[in-house]
């Protein structure tokens, strides 16, 4: 006899719409409406309802005799009961045997970055995210270490569709994020799984009769650029210039000669004198007044009209160039969501807009996104659904390679701010820019002018990403699914390069370029899944096939110089000078994959869980010899807490031990052309054989030596883990001990010079790497007193990365660094990837006796670096270089503290990265007088070595540039890069439901937060989060874009 039970499901934030209410042990179920109400038929002697909702803890309620059952779900359901969406299947973490982490959408959205990958930093144990403060930047995202020398990006899967990046995904649209870390979890993605898989699903709405719910989420804030690096003020710079001349003279054994120092800007006397004007018609060092009226008549900044004539007054107080190129930058993110459904359909539609202004002038990221997700029951057994997002994305003024992540390795405007002498003002006397056209200050470029001049540069992408699927329930438990997905992208850019009349270099040419391109990729997936419970046997079998192309398309671009008119609305490729105007185009065909996969999951009596996964992939990246690869994985788990002997341990709520072993592949790190030997032709390799002086004939040169035998890189992962919940779920511990051995690593063997190095060397499967570590997540929660609850969520990952082998006869390969003789990074077996390499500084030479008794060292002198003679041969040579540290952190982790009191919540989030070093290459520019004589100087030199200041590690400030001063990589540049950052503190308040119902609102939440409040580090550069051109070359800081303090307020409304 059925009877009706009704009730209301509420959570911390009020009523929970769309919660699942199921009669335990049956297929009977329903979900709550927009107000959290439900109604269900129950039967049986002792009916029990199971109530679940994503993001809440599942609860079982015995109905008894009641006809109204109101349920309050605890928010923050335990991590173990979270739903894991792998793309092909959905399961609970409770029954999972692999290494998997999930991140709550709410935690992601708390970080005011518009970029989901940045928001993952510190949220997942074993996930390393190295990023910078540039809006719109990409980041280095690594799951469980650095498995290869390149192509280590994880695979992203959005709503079941594999893709290369997620910068188009709006954080407010995200419903769940799952990170698959080991083979047991990820090898269902086969050849693309070795770097882990990050699976994102977007919101879908609920399938039930309901009224439309509307949500608004808004975030507004500002980012403060903070302070720059300490730089000598104009008087100090003049004084230290004189000091350098004295030191140099002393080292050379001659009398100091101040004539023509800094092109006489500071006079030529025994003490320097600051000038009143640094540039009057090209002449510097002017003391006294200048007839400005007369000068104005001669003023000219247009090279076409005649010689440049500027009048630039000395800024004796000093220009703060960092302040000049930065600003307090606003950010705004808004999403309007509509969701709803009927018994046979559901939908979610959102409109989003995000505008993030960077702290650097004319750096911004703007995104508009429109999403429609729907699902319909076409019949009782047949469902149709689709997801589609249209995106406009415009990232402007970004510097650094690979979409911004390489910014730290650039000689960019941020570096310029610390190289530009503060005596130079931003503008000349008549409104033009001022710069190093004033003699004696070397070659920094006015960074304000640089930023201003990119103002009109346009760049945008138009993206469409989506899929459509049919699902058919053939027999009970067996579902067939067919999915077709596509991604289309179109981009356009233009770059203006006006003449730089104010600088010492590059001042005669106006450049312009523009270009566009498109790409289209598809994915076609078919799966069959059979899920059935036979008594105490739970069986879940999935088989499938997938065919995809990563994107084919074309690019076209042109460039040239000196448009007839420089009016911005006139400058096009057509109007440039015909001399030297170029057009270029290229095409690409993408990479094809064809794959078959299967997964079997078996659970016995809720105690023993066995999972097997296998995928066979074929890819056009590889030659026909080795085109296909098979990637199996096995895992098992034992739920101890279901055993009888554990039942009498009431403090154990759930305890599971699991282990897995398997293979994953990586195919990213090889050019699809690697299988071919190729010759190429381009203007850079033509030749003017006819002696025409302005034209060339094409030349053909070998640009690639092929390897038809290249195949996947294979990672073997071993994972042992424990999932435990204790003390009635108040304490949860997830612990994983893991090892990932990558073999057949694609390594581009260095070509001996005798082969001709303009050919790309073939990538061969020869190297190997080991990553191993421990991932820990600990959550404790409980009541402090009364309504005050707390939760602590700590994640941490220990990582050890070691290159195991390169090719036989290939002892190492080098990369990275600027302006020093030789590279600063060496990748060598036995050491972590991207290790810093150079001479070890023991100290500075304090006495001539020390120099005499020390091993022979070229250029040795007082106050200069004293290197370690590591091979003990009595002389310092290349053989004495050694490993000086690595940018790979030993530990990264995050800690979130959340407190809740009635409608209030408070959370604080800290991130830490420990044990990594940074190669602070920017010191080359700022700490040595001769590096670019005349440019700005770091305030560090105030503590530089002098005969009366020997207790220092800052070398003598002098004019000599040699092996013992500033020409070679050494440990002076290597700094401890560990840091701890308090990334977010936020306070929120949910208005009481009682108050809202009167005005027809379901939910109102206001919040405020502060970000990057505090960074604890001993690193002396601008910011310790230093990325670069990962993976074999990162952690080198030349001009990093800092992550600085920001404040924002948020408003969420549900109608």
């Amino acid at each position: 006899q059925d009877r009706r039970v009704a009730g209301k499901v509420t959570g911390v934030d009020g009523p929970i719409p769309g919660a699942n209410v199921v009669l335990k042990g049956t297929q009977t179920g329903t979900s709550t409406d927009a107000e959290g109400n439900y109604s269900i038929s129950v039967r049986g002697a002792n009916p029990v309802l199971v109530i679940s909702s994503i993001g809440a803890k599942t609860q079982e309620v015995t109905v008894g005799n009641r006809s109204t059952v109101n349920v309050t779900l605890e928010d923050d359901a335990t991590a173990l009961s979270e739903v894991i969406v792998t793309g092909y299947t959905t399961e609970t973490k409770r029954d999972n045997t692999g290494a998997v982490s999930t991140v709550k959408a709410k935690d992601l959205a708390a970080i005011p970055s518009g970029n989901v990958e940045q928001q993952l930093q510190g949220r997942v144990s074993g996930l390393t995210v190295i990023t910078n403060g540039q809006p719109g930047t990409t980041s280095i995202v690594r799951v469980r270490g650095f498995g290869a020398f390149g192509g280590n990006e994880p695979l992203y899967v959005v709503d079941g569709v594999p893709t290369g990046g997620i910068n188009f995904v709006a954080p407010d649209d995200v419903e769940s994020t799952t990170v698959l870390k080991d083979a047991a979890a990820a090898s269902i993605y086969g050849a693309r799984a070795a770097n882990g898989v990050i699976v994102i699903t977007t919101k879908k709405g609920q399938r039930k009769a309901q009224k439309l719910s509307i949500s608004y989420d808004g975030l507004y804030g500002v980012t403060d650029p903070g302070k720059g690096q300490p730089i000598l003020n104009p008087q100090e710079q003049a004084d230290w210039t004189w000091q350098a001349i004295r030191n140099t003279a002393a080292a050379n054994g001659v009398q100091p000669d101040f004539s023509n120092v800094a092109n006489n800007q500071y006079g030529s006397g025994q003490t320097p004198v600051l000038p009143d004007y640094i540039n009057v018609g090209g002449v510097g060092g002017i003391i006294g007044n200048v007839d400005l009226a007369a000068a104005k008549a001669k003023y000219n900044t247009n090279i076409n009209a005649g010689p440049i004539y500027q009048v630039v007054r000395a800024n004796k107080a000093g220009t703060d160039w960092y302040d000049a190129i930065t600003r307090v930058a606003p950010i705004l993110r808004q999403t309007l969501g509509f969701s709803g459904g009927t018994e046979t359909s559901r939908f979610y539609i959102s409109l989003g807009n995000q505008n993030l202004q960077g702290i650097l002038l004319n750096n911004s990221s703007t995104r508009y996104n429109f999403r429609v997700n729907t699902e319909f029951d076409l019949s009782k057994r047949l469902r149709f659904g689709q997801n589609l997002q249209l995106t406009y994305l415009s990232n402007k003024g970004i510097t650094g390679g690979n979409g911004g992540r390489g910014v730290s390795a650039d000689e960019n405007d941020i570096l310029s701010a610390f190289r530009m002498p503060p005596i130079i003002p931003i503008y000349d006397e008549f409104g033009g820019y001022a710069g190093t056209a004033a003699p004696g200050f070397n070659n920094p470029r006015n960074p304000v002018a640089s930023r201003d001049r990119i103002k009109n540069n346009g760049t945008f992408n138009g993206l469409a990403f989506g899929n459509a699927y049919l699902e058919y329930d053939l027999i009970p438990g067996l579902t067939l699914r067919s999915n077709i997905a596509g991604q289309y992208s179109n981009y356009y850019f233009n770059n203006y390069g006006p003449r730089q009349y104010e600088n010492s270099e590059n001042n005669t040419t106006y450049t312009f370029s523009e270009g566009a391109g498109y790409s289209f990729g598809y994915t076609f997936t078919n799966t069959a899944q059979y899920k059935k419970k036979f008594g105490i046997h739970d069986v879940d079998v999935l088989v499938g096939m997938e065919a995809l192309n990563t994107g084919r398309g074309r690019n076209v671009s042109g460039n040239g110089t000196n448009p007839f008119s420089e009016d911005i609305s006139y400058v096009t490729l057509s109007n440039l000078s015909t001399t030297g105007r170029q057009v270029n185009s290229d095409l690409f065909s993408g990479v094809n994959f064809y794959s078959l996969f299967s997964r079997v999951n078996y659970i016995f009596n809720d105690k023993y869980i066995l999972t097997g996964v296998v995928r066979r992939d074929g890819s056009s990246r590889f030659g026909s010899n080795n085109r296909y690869g098979v990637f199996p994985a096995f895992s098992a788990a034992w739920r101890l807490s279901s055993e009888n002997f554990m039942k009498n341990l009431p403090w154990v709520s759930d305890l599971k031990v699991r282990g897995g072993y398997g293979l994953m592949g990586n195919s990213n790190n090889v050019d699809p052309n690697n299988q071919y030997s190729l010759y190429a032709s381009n203007p850079g390799n033509g030749y003017d054989i006819g002696g025409a002086n302005t034209s060339i004939s094409p030349g053909f040169f070998r640009n690639r030596i092929g390897n038809p035998n290249a195949k996947w890189e294979t990672s073997t992962t071993t994972n042992i883990g424990i999932d435990g919940a204790f003390l009635n779920n108040r304490l949860e511990v997830i612990f994983d001990l893991w090892r990932k051995d990558t073999r057949d690593l694609l390594y581009t063997v260095p070509l001996p010079g005798v082969v001709g190095v303009r050919a790309s060397a073939p990538a061969v499967n020869i190297a190997s790497m080991r990553n191993q570590g421990i991932d820990i997540q600990v959550i404790t929660r409980g009541k402090v007193s009364g309504d005050l609850t707390y939760e602590l969520n700590a994640t941490g990952g220990f990582l050890q990365n070691t290159i195991q082998s390169l090719a036989p006869g290939s002892p190492y390969f080098d990369a990275g660094g600027t302006r020093l003789n030789g590279n600063v990074v060496r990748n060598q077996p036995g050491h972590p990837i991207s290790s810093f390499y150079g001479y070890k500084v023991l100290g500075l030479f304090n006495t001539t006796e020390e120099i005499r008794s020390a091993p022979t060292q070229e250029g040795a002198g007082l106050g200069r670096f004293r290197y370690a003679d590591l091979n003990g041969d009595g002389k310092i040579s290349g053989d004495d270089r050694t490993f000086l540290g690595s940018p790979v952190p030993n530990f990264t982790g995050g800690l979130t503290v959340t407190l809740r009191y009635r409608g209030f919540d408070f959370s604080a989030y800290a991130y830490t990265s420990l044990g990594n070093q940074i190669f602070n290459n920017s010191k080359w520019f700022t700490d040595f007088y001769p590096s670019f004589t005349g440019a700005a100087v770091s305030a560090r030199v105030k503590d530089s070595w002098t005969p009366s200041n020997m207790d220092t590690n800052i070398p003598i400030f002098e004019g000599v540039s040699n092996f013992s001063t500033n020409t070679v990589p050494n440990s002076y540049y290597v700094e401890n890069g560990s840091y701890m950052r308090l990334q977010n503190i936020s306070v929120g308040y949910n208005l009481p439901t009682s108050l809202l119902s009167g005005i027809g609102l379901q939910r109102v939440r206001v919040s405020a937060s502060a970000n990057n409040i505090l960074t604890v580090t001993s690193y002396t550069g601008l910011d310790p989060a230093v990325g670069g051109a990962a993976d074999s070359n990162f952690g080198v800081d030349i001009g990093n874009y800092p992550l600085t303090r920001s404040y924002n307020v948020g408003l969420s409304i549900g109608f």
């Binding site: 090209g282 005798v754 030789g822 007088y929």
Partner: protein, 550 residues
């Protein structure tokens, strides 16, 4: 298969020509050798300031290390040229039916000429290098060839084959022809002191030689035109790197020379960057002549080549070191060789068609680089953005050809050969041919309607007193005529006088520019050659052997 067509083969060959300037590699890797040939030879110092591109400073201090990236790139760049020549020869074996026998012969011979050139460069820079021909490639043992043999015979064989098989004139001015091969072969003999073979060949070249575009070998009437893009491929151009501006990539426009311009000139001077390759005090002084217009020589070759009479007392050229541009300065009024002001930019003298050199205002760091600017291979104001590349960050990419061998060089080498195995008088005739061209008053640098300085130059009117006096004169003539053109260091080494001459040079130069030179020393039996790059030794472990001293 497309590559074995006529057009394909020609493209392969052209890519081998393209590598002459070591495009894509460091400036010091170029066949121009302004760093190793001229800076290490004492023509100039690195220039700029002490920290900028300081990887070049060891070249002026003879402190090269096996780990130097510059050294490695020279190796890589020249072997890239070898590999392209070999690729041409390899593909030639399967030439398509549209390739005539004459074309096969010509293409093969040009490729061998170029291979000869690249190995010549490797030989004189590194001495012991592995010899890779077209029969060995990647995967077929190329990396196992040791550097244990003298490769002069291989170089000779390539130039001989080119000499025997190349036509006298070619369809394109830039191609190597029979006489270019003859000249290079003779130069190869000179480096091996095979003076008799060299002399025999020089006699033929001087009698019959012509350029690829059919001009009988001769000296252009005005010295400055050797360094002017408008006069490329003239009768003096035996074999040149063809430069082209605005041709789609600045790699065709002397990327190896882009740093070698005065600094911060604004629009008043060329390029504005970067102040490298500053001529030395010693070189400037060398242009001092006596009242008759002859150089100040003692007749003892070793003593005359650097730190000679011209570096003493009032003979030294007056310069503006330590004087502001705004302060008065009167240039030297004494007699000087007119080639001085085609070779060296100095205060007060008209700088091409730009303006008189202002001194300090165009110098980046006088204390490090001295007062002089380079002047050869600098473009004229009228050529800016026409014969210079407009698409780049500087105008310093120009279309000026660099002559790897020019006829004046041939004449002076012929004179050397005559001194050793022929007639001193004939040697004097050859030297005088070169001096007479320099004496053409139409070629003098003019300023305000008259010669910019007191130019005096005359031929050697009396017979050389001795072989050694003749050597001194001819060798010094090479210093004057070919300064800044990448020859000097190699000449000093092949004459066997690098150690005394360069240490004399350092002794004179170092006190004037202590920051760049103090403590530097040339070590004999080591510094004559560069080290074999450590990277290459590491990659080809057990195959390559390091040079002595490194």
């Amino acid at each position: 298969a497309q590559l074995s067509s006529r057009a394909g083969l020609d493209g392969l060959l052209l890519s081998a020509y393209a590598q002459l300037n070591a495009r894509g590699f460091t400036q010091s890797a170029s066949s121009f050798n302004w760093v190793r040939g001229s800076i290490s030879g004492g023509d100039a110092n690195k220039g700029s300031n002490s920290g900028d591109f300081n990887a070049l400073t060891p070249y002026q201090r003879y402190e090269l290390q096996a780990v130097s990236g510059e050294v490695n790139q020279k190796w890589q760049a020249m072997f890239e040229g070898v590999s392209r020549a070999n690729a041409t020869l390899r593909t030639l074996a399967s030439a398509g039916s549209d390739v005539s026998d004459a074309d096969k012969k010509r293409i093969g011979s040009e490729a061998r000429f170029l291979r000869g050139h690249y190995y010549f460069e490797l030989k004189r820079n590194f001495n012991m290098v592995p010899y890779v021909d077209e029969t060995k490639d990647y995967g077929t043992g190329v990396e196992t060839i040791a550097n244990d043999k003298d490769i002069w015979p291989n170089i000779e064989a390539d130039f001989k084959a080119a000499y025997d098989n190349l036509p006298e004139t070619q369809s394109a001015a830039g191609r190597a022809n029979k006489w270019a091969a003859a000249s290079y072969l003779a130069k190869t003999y000179m480096y091996q002191k095979k003076y008799a073979e060299a002399k025999a060949l020089f006699d033929l070249i001087i009698a019959n030689g012509k350029t690829a575009n059919g001009k009988k070998y001769g000296l252009v009437p005005q010295y400055s035109r050797v360094f002017n893009a408008e006069f490329d491929n003239n009768e003096e151009s035996v074999f040149a790197i063809q430069a082209a501006a605005n041709a789609g990539s600045s790699d065709n426009a002397n990327p190896d020379l882009v740093l070698n311009f005065p600094y911060n000139t604004g629009s008043n001077g060329p390029a504005g960057c970067c102040g490298f390759f500053a001529p030395s005090f010693d070189l400037a002084n060398s242009f001092r002549v006596d009242a008759k217009g002859l150089p100040l020589l003692t007749g003892v070759s070793e003593k005359d080549q650097a730190g000679g009479l011209y570096d003493q007392g009032a003979n030294q050229l007056k310069n503006d070191q330590g004087i502001k541009s705004s302060e008065a300065f009167t240039p030297d009024a004494g007699p000087v060789d007119p080639r001085l002001d085609h070779s060296i930019g100095r205060r007060g003298i008209q700088y091409l068609d730009w303006q008189p050199h202002p001194g300090l205002d165009w110098i980046r760091d006088q204390g490090f680089a001295g007062p002089y600017s380079p002047k050869k291979f600098v473009f004229y104001r009228t050529q800016s953005k026409v014969l210079t590349d407009g698409s780049s960050w500087t105008d310093g990419y120009s279309a000026i050809n660099y002559n790897i061998i020019r006829y004046a060089d041939v004449l002076l080498m012929a004179a050397e050969a005559e001194i050793e195995v022929g007639s001193l008088e004939k040697a004097r005739d050859y030297v005088n041919l070169v001096r007479s061209r320099a004496a053409n008053p139409e070629g003098f640098v003019m300023q305000g309607g008259k010669a910019a300085a007191n130019y005096v130059i005359s031929p050697y009117t009396t017979a050389f007193a001795s072989k050694d006096a003749a050597r001194s004169a001819v060798r010094f003539e090479r210093k004057l005529e070919l300064s800044g053109e990448g020859h000097r260091f190699y000449d000093l080494v092949r004459w066997g006088i690098a150690e005394p001459v360069l240490n004399s040079y350092l002794a004179y130069e170092a006190p004037k520019l202590p920051t760049g030179f103090l403590g530097a020393k040339f070590q004999s039996n080591q510094d004559e050659y560069m080290p074999i790059p450590q990277t290459q030794i590491d990659i080809q472990r057990g195959v390559l052997k390091q040079n002595p001293g490194y």
